[in-house]
């Protein structure tokens, strides 16, 4: 028998048109005012005095040094977290052992720590008056106010991104395919490269994308360990702050517009991944 849906049935699942329109209007205006306006203002303020001052700020040697440093920090921090994410996900998803859920909770820990505290813990360890600082100083090793400190703080704040993307995805997929590959004589590495990796490739990319965006944009944690030495330990977000505090608003917004562009590119790639490969990302793909 063909079930017929009368208009009345449909109606009980929805609201009157005026309410629908009102709710849509409220949502869209809230998002436009809270999110879109700030984004647009970054670009209008950056170009307030035209293109030439905009380009001049970005081509400034301190700005270029900041860009290089931010890229360097991301190039070190993201791959390290990638290796960690793969190892943690492999151990958690392919084996059953005690303390597994504790491990998953601990991996998420950095997300619930304030960025400033993420920087503080390294100062307490490696700072001039920290526990290990004086000892390391005798050997001529400096961590706080150097690139090493920036990398450590960045690794901390971006720590969970890739692991928390891979773990639910690999748990979902189980380990039958790997067991089959092993029983057919494949080695461990071969199994990982030919069976596991293709299965999680898009989820991995998704995690790397989010990890990279945070690594390049982190402010609080790196601010604490950086020392703000221009041209040396000044990342792009910190450079924005310096210019802003010097009342060079066009300069601050010009450098900020680079970060805003990075955010837009990240959003576009993320949305594309969700639309095209949503079924191959972890169930809770949205963060």
């Amino acid at each position: 028998m063909i079930r017929r849906i009368s208009p009345a049935t449909l109606n009980v699942r929805s609201e009157p048109a005026w309410l629908r329109i009102l709710l849509i209007a409220v949502s869209v205006s809230f998002i436009v005012v809270m999110l879109v306006l700030p984004l647009i203002s970054v670009f209008t303020e950056a170009l307030a005095k035209g293109f030439a001052p905009y380009l001049a700020t970005i081509a400034d040697s301190d700005a270029l040094a900041a860009i290089r440093l931010t890229l360097l920090v991301a190039v070190i921090a993201v791959p390290l977290n990638l290796v960690f994410g793969l190892c943690a996900a492999w151990a958690v998803a392919k084996f059953d052992f005690r303390g597994k859920s504790l491990l998953i909770t601990l991996i998420d820990l950095p997300f619930s720590v304030s960025p400033v505290i993420s920087g503080l813990i390294y100062v307490l360890l490696f700072g001039a008056r920290g526990w290990l600082g004086p000892v390391l100083d005798e050997y001529g090793i400096k961590i706080i106010f150097t690139v090493t400190g920036l990398v450590l703080a960045t690794i901390f704040v971006t720590f969970p991104f890739i692991a928390r993307e891979l773990i639910p995805l690999m748990l979902e997929q189980g380990s039958e395919e790997e067991e089959a590959a092993i029983s057919l004589g494949a080695g461990g590495l071969q199994t990982f490269l030919r069976v596991t990796l293709p299965n999680v490739a898009w989820g991995l990319l998704y995690g790397v994308l989010l990890c990279n965006a945070r690594a390049m944009g982190e402010f609080g944690a790196v601010s604490v360990v950086s020392g703000h030495i221009r041209g040396k330990t000044n990342t792009v977000p910190l450079h924005v702050e310096i210019l802003y505090n010097e009342y060079d608003f066009v300069g601050a917004f010009a450098v900020a517009s680079l970060l805003a562009l990075l955010a837009l590119v990240t959003l576009v790639c993320k949305s594309l991944l969700e639309w095209k490969f949503g079924d191959r990302l972890a169930g809770g793909a949205k963060h």
């Binding site: 009980v12 699942r13 949502s27 869209v28 400033v116 526990w131 901390f156 944009g217």
Partner: protein, 290 residues
């Protein structure tokens, strides 16, 4: 004692790991644990053990200073207010994105994640520009005598911005999975649409709403980058706790900085615990429904 036939070795009664043919357990778990300890656990323990170093009296003295208490009050108060506002608007946004069709819906949906992607310093200076007395929005409030930027209100605005996605993204999947047959049942039993929402839909998305609220609150309490530009940073009035940590660090007052940090950390753990319990409740509930 039970022994395995093949090796003759005694088998532990309680095994901590199930046997598996897949290799690499020791290597991957070993690396993961080492990395986790070096980057996260040891530094955090160093922070938590600070009060032992400086004595409990010193810890209490540092926490109970009026300026510290004021900064904690501002951080927690502004974060609570921002989380409440986001719970309200976040629920509406999630509802609209799941239930209705309208032009550019995908675009709006993608935009919700902007605060996750946009660096906090950029958000901070952009919001300051907009809500300053001569800014796009600030200029409409200036004649009314309401100052937004450089006051505690500015802090709330920045915190609303950075914590909005938490609420929307937590509610969305739950609302998506909600079985519309419950709504039909409610309607056929004579409930009005509003009653159905309050008594059928809202209770089943309440755990998700609470989780999103808690996540937004936790994130907002610790926020630094977007706040310091718009806050004005007046001690006792608009100075947030993370900023006071930075100030104390710059004065080499490690004890004071760690005292504030420990209070905030304890709070974060409580929130994390609450969220974990909520989520367990949530998944049990969803299993029952399914």
């Amino acid at each position: 004692m039970a022994t395995t036939a093949l090796t003759g070795r005694p088998r532990p009664l309680l095994r901590w790991k199930q046997p598996s043919v897949i290799p690499g357990f020791g290597l991957t778990l070993g690396f993961a644990l080492t990395y986790l300890s070096l980057i996260v656990l040891i530094p955090l323990v160093a922070l938590i053990l600070r009060p032992v170093d400086m004595g409990f009296a010193g810890f209490w003295h540092a926490v109970s200073a009026p300026r510290v208490l004021a900064s904690l009050k501002i951080s927690f108060g502004a974060a609570l207010l921002a989380a409440i506002i986001n719970a309200f608007f976040g629920l509406i946004v999630a509802w609209v994105l799941v239930r209705y069709r309208f032009p550019m819906k995908r675009f709006v949906d993608a935009l919700v994640d902007l605060p996750f992607a946009l660096p906090t310093a950029v958000a901070g200076i952009a919001l300051t520009g907009i809500y300053a007395p001569n800014g796009w929005i600030g200029r409409f409030f200036e004649p009314l005598g309401i100052k937004l930027a450089f006051t505690p209100l500015g802090i709330v605005i920045a915190l609303i911005f950075i914590s909005l996605p938490f609420v929307v993204r937590t509610i969305q999947p739950v609302l998506q999975d909600f079985d519309a047959e419950f709504e039909d049942a409610a309607a056929s039993l004579g409930a009005t649409r509003w009653q159905t929402f309050l008594m059928v839909i809202l209770p089943s998305i309440a755990p998700a709403l609470l989780t999103g609220f808690a996540l937004a609150f936790a994130r907002a309490v610790g926020e630094y980058g977007s706040v310091i530009f718009i806050a004005g940073n007046m001690p006792m009035v608009s100075e947030v706790a993370p900023l006071l940590i930075v100030t104390k660090l710059e004065q080499y007052d490690y004890a004071g900085a760690s005292a504030i940090a420990i209070v905030m950390l304890c709070f974060s753990f409580l929130i994390l615990l609450a969220v974990n319990r909520l989520q367990r409740h949530l998944s049990r509930h969803r299993e029952r429904v399914a």
